[in-house]
């Protein structure tokens, strides 16, 4: 652990009762604003027969309809805006890899909130005004680059807007400019770490001290790898452009869950199948309501990100709920024999066996009335043994661990390398062969 401060103690360490009161007050306001200024929302509320005056407690939020990415696409580009464009000072958009992109706008006050919540997690993860911040996120429609940029400037650090790409030049800048803080995706950090080693740099050549990695799900194992290779202290942060961009939540130096800025974002977690609330210790889809956003208020936005909430208070003193790392996407969830199964759970088991992740695929089929789950695992040289009994043992070991983690039996099939279908370099993780009803 490294020393750190608290950026906004008044709100970050607010007493929980006062926080709930503030949330309710802000929730009622945001619902009224959505009702009054976004026809699309009013229609959605009218369909389920709810009006802003029905919201009397925080629990009443459950009466409100969910908002999804599809809703935002229908509102493309500006229909979801609750303010006229003259009040909007910034526009971002999410990538349109799965369809039309979603457009988000910020008023001057939204920008202020955004900058502030980013500053919160930067300071929580150890950033100070003395740091030199190397931002390797791309600058553009993606919220990562600009979000971190303004937050780090607000903290008073020296910000280098390197942007993405040209990795060797990145390392040269880090070395020559004496960067002490790195901002990028965790996978890019791993890549930079490998490159640093490949270039034969010695640990003292880089001054990196802290790293803030987000925009992708990553495991603690990856964290260890990044910390070891780059010689820095790494924290995770979470956000999505629809809500505000980075800054929805971020880890403190305890590296144990991301503190949600609950005074701005109200978190709920639901079973993605039934849409009913789930307990804090169970996996559930994160649903967020923006409590203060002016340009695009979002009510009960389904993030599709699966996480848990960490129990207990954090020793750092912050009172906001802590969310675990994202362990999957609800789009990926499978219901097999009544159990909710995520490919990421299988991934954890496989990673655990040899410390390295093989290519794998979940094949779900139906035999008679019963669902059957088969996990195909490509046998790489790390997993291969010349003896039959060792391979059989590997097979059984994985099956046993899968049953423990998933709660249902799965059969393991060892397959040859490169036999699992890949599209665009990514393996297809799930093959659902069950007949569609």
């Amino acid at each position: 652990m490294i020393p750190s401060a608290i950026w906004d103690p008044e709100f970050e360490c607010m007493h929980v009762d006062a926080l709930r009161e503030l949330q309710l007050e802000r929730l009622r306001k945001v619902v009224r604003r959505a009702w009054g200024h976004v026809p699309y929302y009013r229609q959605k509320m009218q369909v389920v027969g709810v009006t802003p005056s029905d919201i009397k407690t925080l629990e009443d939020i459950r009466k409100l309809p969910f908002t999804t990415k599809d809703d935002l696409r229908l509102c493309y580009p500006y229909e979801a805006f609750a303010v006229p464009l003259e009040k909007v000072v910034r526009i971002h958009a999410s990538s349109g890899t799965t369809g039309k992109s979603t457009v988000v706008g910020y008023t001057r006050k939204d920008m202020e909130v955004w900058t502030n919540v980013v500053a919160r997690f930067l300071v929580a993860g150890g950033l100070t005004s003395k740091d030199i911040v190397h931002i390797a996120f791309s600058y553009g429609l993606f919220t990562g680059g600009f979000g971190l940029h303004y937050g780090a400037e607000r903290v008073g650090a020296s910000v280098i807007p390197v942007s993405a790409g040209r990795s060797e030049r990145q390392i040269q800048i880090m070395r020559d400019f004496g960067s002490t803080a790195l901002v990028c995706t965790p996978s890019y950090a791993v890549y930079l770490g490998e490159l640093v080693q490949g270039m034969g740099l010695k640990p003292g050549d880089l001054k990196l001290r802290v790293g803030f990695f987000g925009a992708e799900a990553w495991s603690n194992r990856v964290r260890e790898e990044i910390q070891a290779k780059l010689g820095l202290f790494a924290t995770d942060n979470y956000g999505l452009s629809e809500i505000i961009g980075p800054g929805v939540a971020g880890e403190c130096v305890h590296q144990n869950g991301m503190h949600i800025s609950e005074d701005h974002f109200y978190p709920e977690r639901i079973d993605p199948d039934t849409c009913e609330p789930v307990g804090p210790d169970r996996r559930g889809e994160l649903v967020l309501t923006t409590l203060t956003k002016e340009a695009i208020p979002l009510i009960r936005y389904r993030t599709r990100d699966i996480c848990m909430l960490m129990p207990g208070t954090c020793p750092c003193g912050r009172t906001g709920a802590r969310m675990s790392k994202i362990t999957g996407r609800s789009d990926d969830m499978l219901i097999i024999r009544g159990a909710n199964i995520y490919p990421s759970q299988v991934e954890e088991v496989l990673l655990d066996v040899k410390g390295t992740l093989p290519h794998y695929q979940l094949v779900v089929s139906r035999e008679g009335a019963l669902d059957r789950l088969e996990v195909r695992v490509e046998v790489s040289e790390e997993f291969f043994a010349d003896e039959m009994k060792k391979l059989n043992e590997l097979d059984r070991q994985i099956e046993h661990k899968l049953e423990n983690v998933l709660g249902i039996r799965a059969s393991v099939k060892l397959v040859e390398p490169r036999t699992i279908e890949r599209s665009e370099g990514k393996a297809k993780r799930v093959l659902d062969l069950r007949p569609k009803e």
């Binding site: 046998v379 040289e381 291969f384 010349d386 039959m388 391979l391 060892l414 040859e416 390398p417 490169r418």
Partner: protein, 143 residues
């Protein structure tokens, strides 16, 4: 004395063995001995070849999972009880055999048995003590 054997992971699929043999054949590699252990889903193909390193490269390039394993080639007297005379001293010394397979040497018509021992060094000592003829690796690759 140790012979380097190639072990290849194989799914039980039609034509798989033929594909492997074809890529080795195209590279001019001769198979000296072969065995296949299998279950209903997968198998392990074990090969002794003329050029081990080249074969390893060819197979890895073709995307196979391959490993190298040390085995021991023993010349077994071609008469009743021949194999027993090799196995008895091993059993008495408590040396375990993981697996074995046999082939016939062309020049002498003698049987050669390939052994994979749990502990190869210990096994070699026992065989030497019992004056059992272990074939040098170079001889086996050229058989």
């Amino acid at each position: 004395m140790k012979v380097r054997q190639l072990s290849i992971f194989m799914e039980n699929r039609a034509g798989r063995l033929a594909e492997i043999m074809q890529s080795l054949g195209d590279a001019g590699i001769n198979i000296r001995a072969l065995s296949l252990a299998d279950t209903s889903d997968f198998g392990i193909l074990r090969l002794i070849v003329s050029q081990v390193d080249k074969a390893l490269e060819v197979l890895r390039k073709a995307g196979h999972t391959v490993s190298l394993t040390d085995v021991v080639a023993v010349e077994v007297p071609d008469h009743p009880g021949g194999l027993a005379s090799v196995l008895t001293p091993l059993r008495e010394a408590g040396v375990n055999v993981e697996y074995m397979y046999a082939f016939v040497e062309k020049a002498t018509d003698k049987a050669v048995v390939i052994f994979r021992f749990e502990e190869t060094e210990a096994a070699l000592k026992v065989l030497a003590g019992a004056r059992i003829s272990v074939l040098p690796a170079e001889t086996v690759y050229k058989l």
